[in-house]
């Protein structure tokens, strides 16, 4: 019976296991720098997003249009509302919206463009797939989250001055030695935030890719049918992760500006949102 099953699996699954990649593949080298497939696709996606969003912004009218315009409008409105709920002022929301909206759209379209059929194992060059989603690479998400956290520091300094920025970490009486210890912990938590933001986005997208690869492999000739539910799931997860990535950064910024001390990942920032909503 077991051998029968073995022959059946050999018949159904033709390759040696599903293609699983945690690290991106190096395509070619330019002056000693390795260009990986996710870097290439990230650059292509960035160009595409830039062109699309600039075109949409140029043609934006007061009367709402249908199609892609509507998607961008809904997304931007959604981000402005999220910031407004979190910070409690429309004026601040409009001021910070360009940065957070572009971050949101970048992550959203990076996730969604990674689900296109040509991305992955279909097209290969020197043993590696040519395209790989930008967010399915830890280096990419680490760079994105580092920029987000650095911009949060910059916005905090601009909002409350350098002294207020330092006082945000070392809050409380300056004669108390515990203040300095807690301040150092607060500073260290910025680093862990970079790591947790990057890991969350990377793992969600990379594991989605792995799950799609596994189910496409199991399905063999029926791969489109078996992989389709997971592609649809990944559409949802991609949008959710883009929202969470922006939402958490907005919460970090709100916590840094408001000077109430508590971890931004705790529920306190959310209840603050709930009372103003």
């Amino acid at each position: 019976m077991f051998t029968d099953m073995m022959t059946l699996t050999k018949f159904v699954a033709t390759e040696n296991g599903p293609p699983i990649h945690i690290i991106p593949g190096e395509l070619f080298h330019i002056g000693g720098f390795a260009i990986t497939n996710s870097m290439l696709y990230g650059a292509i996606c960035s160009l595409l997003i830039l062109v699309l969003l600039i075109t949409v912004a140029r043609r934006m009218t007061v009367k709402p249009k249908r199609g892609f315009f509507q998607l961008v409008e809904i997304g931007t409105d959604f981000i402005i509302n999220t910031i407004e709920n979190s910070m409690g002022s429309r004026e601040k929301a409009v001021r910070y919206a360009p940065f957070f909206a572009s971050a949101f759209f970048f992550v959203l379209f990076s996730n969604w463009l990674g689900l296109l059929p040509g991305v992955g194992e279909a097209i290969k060059y020197s043993g590696h797939p040519v395209f790989r989603p930008f967010t399915a690479d830890l280096n990419g998400t680490l760079a994105a989250s580092t920029i987000m956290i650095i911009m949060v520091q910059y916005f905090t300094i601009r909002e409350s001055g350098f002294k207020g920025y330092i006082r945000h970490y070392f809050a409380g009486s300056l004669k108390n030695p515990a203040t300095y210890l807690l301040g150092l912990f607060e500073m260290f938590s910025e680093l862990t935030r970079i790591g947790s933001l990057a890991l969350r986005l990377f793992l969600n997208v990379a594991i989605g890719e792995i799950i799609i690869a596994i189910f496409a492999y199991l399905g063999s000739f029926a791969a489109p049918i078996t992989a389709l539910p997971f592609v649809v799931l990944e559409l949802f997860v991609g949008a959710l992760q883009a929202y969470i990535f922006t939402m958490l950064t907005i919460m970090y910024l709100t916590a840094a500006i408001k000077h109430d001390h508590g971890s931004a990942e705790s529920v306190s920032a959310m209840t603050g949102e709930a009372t103003t909503a």
Partner: protein, 68 residues
């Protein structure tokens, strides 16, 4: 006998335990809150944010499967 397979099994089992309990608690307290106060149902979006925070641990375990 290849012990890596056993290690992967143990890691999946124990590693998924915590996040599973965590997500269960989130869901149960959300349902509790909605049961007490049906207006709280509008915070369903917040539930997903907290789930994503908890889910990170489960994803770390799952990604470790392909590294060890």
């Amino acid at each position: 006998m290849d012990l890596t397979v056993l290690a992967k099994g143990i890691m999946m089992g124990f590693g998924m335990l915590g996040p599973a309990i965590g997500i269960g608690l989130i869901g149960s307290s959300f349902m509790n809150a909605v049961g007490r106060n049906p207006e709280a149902a509008k915070y369903f979006g917040q539930v997903f944010v907290i789930i994503a925070i908890v889910e990170l641990m489960a994803l770390l375990v799952f990604a470790s499967l392909f590294i060890i």
